[in-house]
């Protein structure tokens, strides 16, 4: 098969799940007639009809509420946020209603909320968000943030088939920038499993989404300086794959976390806590964080570049850590 983009992987996952299972429906703003603001649902309306591909008013709370209501009758809705930033508009519906349903009254909501996230495309402060940690702190969600077309397709399929509400973040920087050959046959990638993207012995770099590629680039540069970094793609933030993280850190004894989310309250802090609880005696140095600045995402390219992590920043931090 010809290589496909990240965006096409998302589209294929939805298309194939909808073709295989009439319980799967798509609801969101401009997902039907227009095929989605980024064309992730292009062609779905023509194939599956207006009952399954539902254009809505600009009402994020209503989209989430309706998707949740649909799931209670046995459907498996996919709700699209046109930009993931707008998930803040339905924060209450998600965190208070959807997330708590199974714990409180045995009503799991098998629904996926997905949308384009992340910066690096000069989207400015309201079209570049990485809101995963708002939701990681809410018990009840699974949180997926893939970095490759193969994973995007496999994880989205697994998310649609999961019995819990899944928040699925699609880094828009990756949409058209990476291509990958993927199998023609149906496959899924299990939620909650990280993957070792590059083996190494001197330090562990944990990352996900767009920063995964930045981390790999840095690892190549580090290798030229004789530092072999093990790079792990978390893929799923909730549940987080503690086993893969701990196995690697116990081997390398050093850990660097790279994420595009802002620093304070980012997943790196959570990982630091996990390591200090479960691998304290294996650590030869501090957990180091390379993250975005603790500011809104600025618009000007010069500012956004300063805001975001990059391979150089990862390289420098890794060099410092390797000295321990």
């Amino acid at each position: 098969m010809a290589p496909i983009t990240f965006l096409e992987a998302i589209r294929q996952a939805m298309f194939e799940e909808m073709a295989a299972d009439p319980r799967v429906v798509l609801i969101g703003e401009d997902v039907g007639v227009y095929g989605g603001a980024f064309k992730t649902s292009e062609g779905l309306l023509e194939k599956f009809g207006w009952e399954r591909v539902i254009d809505t008013p600009i009402s994020e709370s209503a989209i989430i509420g309706a998707a949740c209501g649909m799931s209670y009758l046995g459907l498996r809705p996919i709700a699209e946020m046109q930009f993931i930033d707008f998930i803040a508009c339905c924060f209450n519906q998600l965190t208070n209603f959807v997330a708590k349903g199974h714990y409180l009254w045995n009503a799991p909501a098998p629904m996926v909320v997905r949308g384009p996230s992340g910066g690096g495309v000069h989207g400015g402060p309201f079209h570049s968000a990485n809101p995963e940690m708002y939701f990681l702190h809410t018990p009840g969600f699974k949180i997926v943030y893939p970095s490759t077309p193969y994973d995007a397709k496999g994880l989205l399929k697994a998310s649609i088939r999961d019995n819990n509400p899944v928040l699925f973040f699609e880094h828009k920087f990756l949409y058209r920038r990476i291509k990958e050959e993927i199998p023609a046959a149906d496959y899924t990638v299990p939620l909650g499993k990280a993957i070792v993207r590059r083996e190494g012995k001197h330090l562990t770099i944990l990352s996900y989404a767009a920063m995964m590629h930045v981390s790999l680039e840095a690892a190549e540069a580090l290798a030229k300086d004789g530092i072999e970094a093990e790079v792990i793609d978390l893929r799923t933030l909730m549940p987080i794959d503690e086993e893969t993280i701990l196995n690697s850190v116990k081997k390398t004894n050093k850990c660097l976390v790279v994420h595009e989310d802002t620093k304070t309250g980012g997943i790196a802090g959570e990982i630091a806590a996990i390591l200090s609880e479960k691998a304290f005696h294996d650590l030869d140095g501090p957990l180091v964080r390379v993250t975005s600045l603790d500011t809104p995402v600025p618009y000007a390219p010069t500012l956004e570049e300063a805001f975001l992590p990059n391979a150089q920043k990862v390289f420098t931090a890794a060099k410092d850590l390797a000295r321990f």
């Binding site: 073709a19 009439p22 319980r23 429906v25 007639v33 309306l45 023509e46 194939k47 599956f48 009809g49 207006w50 009952e51 399954r52 539902i54 809505t56 008013p57 009402s59 994020e60 709370s61 209503a62 989209i63 989430i64 509420g65 309706a66 998707a67 949740c68 209501g69 649909m70 799931s71 209670y72 009758l73 046995g74 459907l75 809705p77 209450n92 519906q93 208070n96 209603f97 708590k100 349903g101 199974h102 714990y103 409180l104 009254w105 045995n106 009503a107 799991p108 098998p110 018990p139 009840g140 699974k142 019995n163 819990n164």
Partner: protein, 420 residues
């Protein structure tokens, strides 16, 4: 133009149905009276919210639903749960946080549901959230080919939330079979309705969504039932969503802790004279549907039932501490057995049958009726049709607003767009 109906012809009920309404109103009141006693004995773990004086609304509206229909109560709709078939013990155990409660003590009050049998969605405390949820239930019901109606309630206070608007607007744009009961009890905690909303009738909110609405005396159970019945039938026939404003009064404070001293004495006195149960008893006696003996029998039946149910609740254990960490996620296939109940051929929804041409008009869906009375079909890719919808055509049909729009120079708009 959708109108607000204020007079619905009283529905003709059988003797049994009249007595059912009476039984449930009395049961509603006695369940709450029992809980007030339990509250004073410190046996209710959290707050206690009363629907005293509002029982006719919960009972009259939910009695109009069929078994297959879905409802989502709010905090003052315990009566609707009873009508739908929830045993009083569930309400007692919920309030007492017992392990035997539907949520096993994880939540209290009327916060529980039943997806499998009774078709009840659990409410949450954030007002208005149930409106889009019940819209989604109605949409899924239509998709599955089920002829269901969904019903939920909102207060005068909750009708000011953003999600009330989002939910009702989505329901209207989808023509969802939703009946929304706006229970105007005139007080949102301590804030009177006049300080919340500059409207004489909250039913007027329906006009913003182009949907039908009703205003009904919320203390007249037959009027409430008749209105709800008509609304439910219309919603089932595809005429939804429908808003019913039921005017009533909250006789107690927001919850047990609140003496509600902010309520004017005259207002309270007026409504206490209009007690829905007393009014209905008068009606039943005059129409010879109920005599003193019949009344006694019902009272005895309710007392015997509630004694048993209260004892069950009081004797139930608290949940074991280890339960606290269980159940955040649905794990394993057996935790989610919910399968859609298809009442239409599934192959209609799969290609090739589900495929649509790139140009179409969807009759009866989305198209609806424009405020001018003309139809407003949805077009996709149909340039000629799209052009026909532009201001000049609209001006002809509906007049003023579109004409004003048309005067704005199109060039200005496009140049701004080009500059981006």
């Amino acid at each position: 133009m959708p109108v607000t109906e204020t007079r619905v012809k009283a529905a003709k009920l059988s003797r049994q149905q009249y007595l059912d309404l009476y039984y449930y109103m009395r049961l509603n009141r006695e369940v709450e009276a029992t809980m007030t006693r339990l509250f004073r004995q410190n046996k209710i773990v959290g707050g206690l919210y009363a629907s005293l004086g509002q029982e006719a609304i919960s009972i009259g509206t939910s009695y109009a639903l069929e078994k297959r229909d879905w409802l989502a109560p709010m905090i003052r709709n315990i009566g609707a749960l009873l009508v739908k078939g929830v045993p009083p013990r569930d309400i007692f155990t919920q309030h007492m946080a017992k392990y035997t409660s539907p949520t096993k003590g994880k939540d209290g009050t009327s916060h529980f549901g039943d997806l499998e049998n009774l078709h009840i969605i659990s409410p949450i405390s954030m007002l208005g959230d149930l409106i889009p949820v019940m819209t989604g239930v109605a949409m899924a019901g239509r998709y599955l080919g089920q002829k269901i109606v969904t019903m939920t309630w909102i207060g005068d206070g909750g009708s000011s939330t953003g999600v009330f608007h989002e939910g009702l607007n989505l329901a209207a744009s989808q023509k969802a079979a939703l009946v929304l009961i706006l229970e105007n009890n005139q007080w949102a905690y301590s804030t009177p309705v006049r300080r919340q909303v500059p409207l004489e009738n909250l039913a007027d909110r329906a006009k913003a969504y182009g949907i039908s609405s009703y205003i009904v005396d919320g203390n007249d159970v037959v009027a409430v039932y008749s209105t709800a019945k008509e609304a439910v039938e219309r919603a089932r026939a595809g005429d939804g969503p429908i808003l019913i404003e039921a005017k009533t009064f909250r006789r107690q404070g927001h919850a047990q802790h609140d003496p509600a001293e902010y309520v004017p004495k005259e207002q309270r006195a007026y409504w206490e004279k209009r007690d829905p149960i007393t009014l209905y008893e008068k009606f039943l006696t005059e129409d010879k549907l109920l005599d003193a003996k019949g009344k006694k029998e019902i009272e005895y039946r309710i007392a015997a039932l509630l004694d048993k149910e209260r004892e069950f609740a009081e004797n139930s254990p608290m949940p074991p501490p280890e339960l606290a960490s269980e159940g955040v996620y649905c794990t394993g296939p057996e935790c989610h057995n919910l399968q859609p109940k298809w009442e239409r051929p599934v192959d209609e929804l799969l290609p090739p049958k589900s495929c649509v041409k790139p140009v179409w008009t969807v009759a009866g869906f989305g198209s609806g009726t424009a405020s001018s009375g003309g139809t407003a079909p949805i077009h996709f890719g149909d340039v000629a049709a799209a052009n026909a919808e532009k201001p000049s055509a609209l001006t002809k049909r509906s007049g003023k607003p579109a004409a004003r729009l048309a005067k704005k120079p199109a060039s200005k708009k496009s140049s701004r767009k080009g500059g981006r």
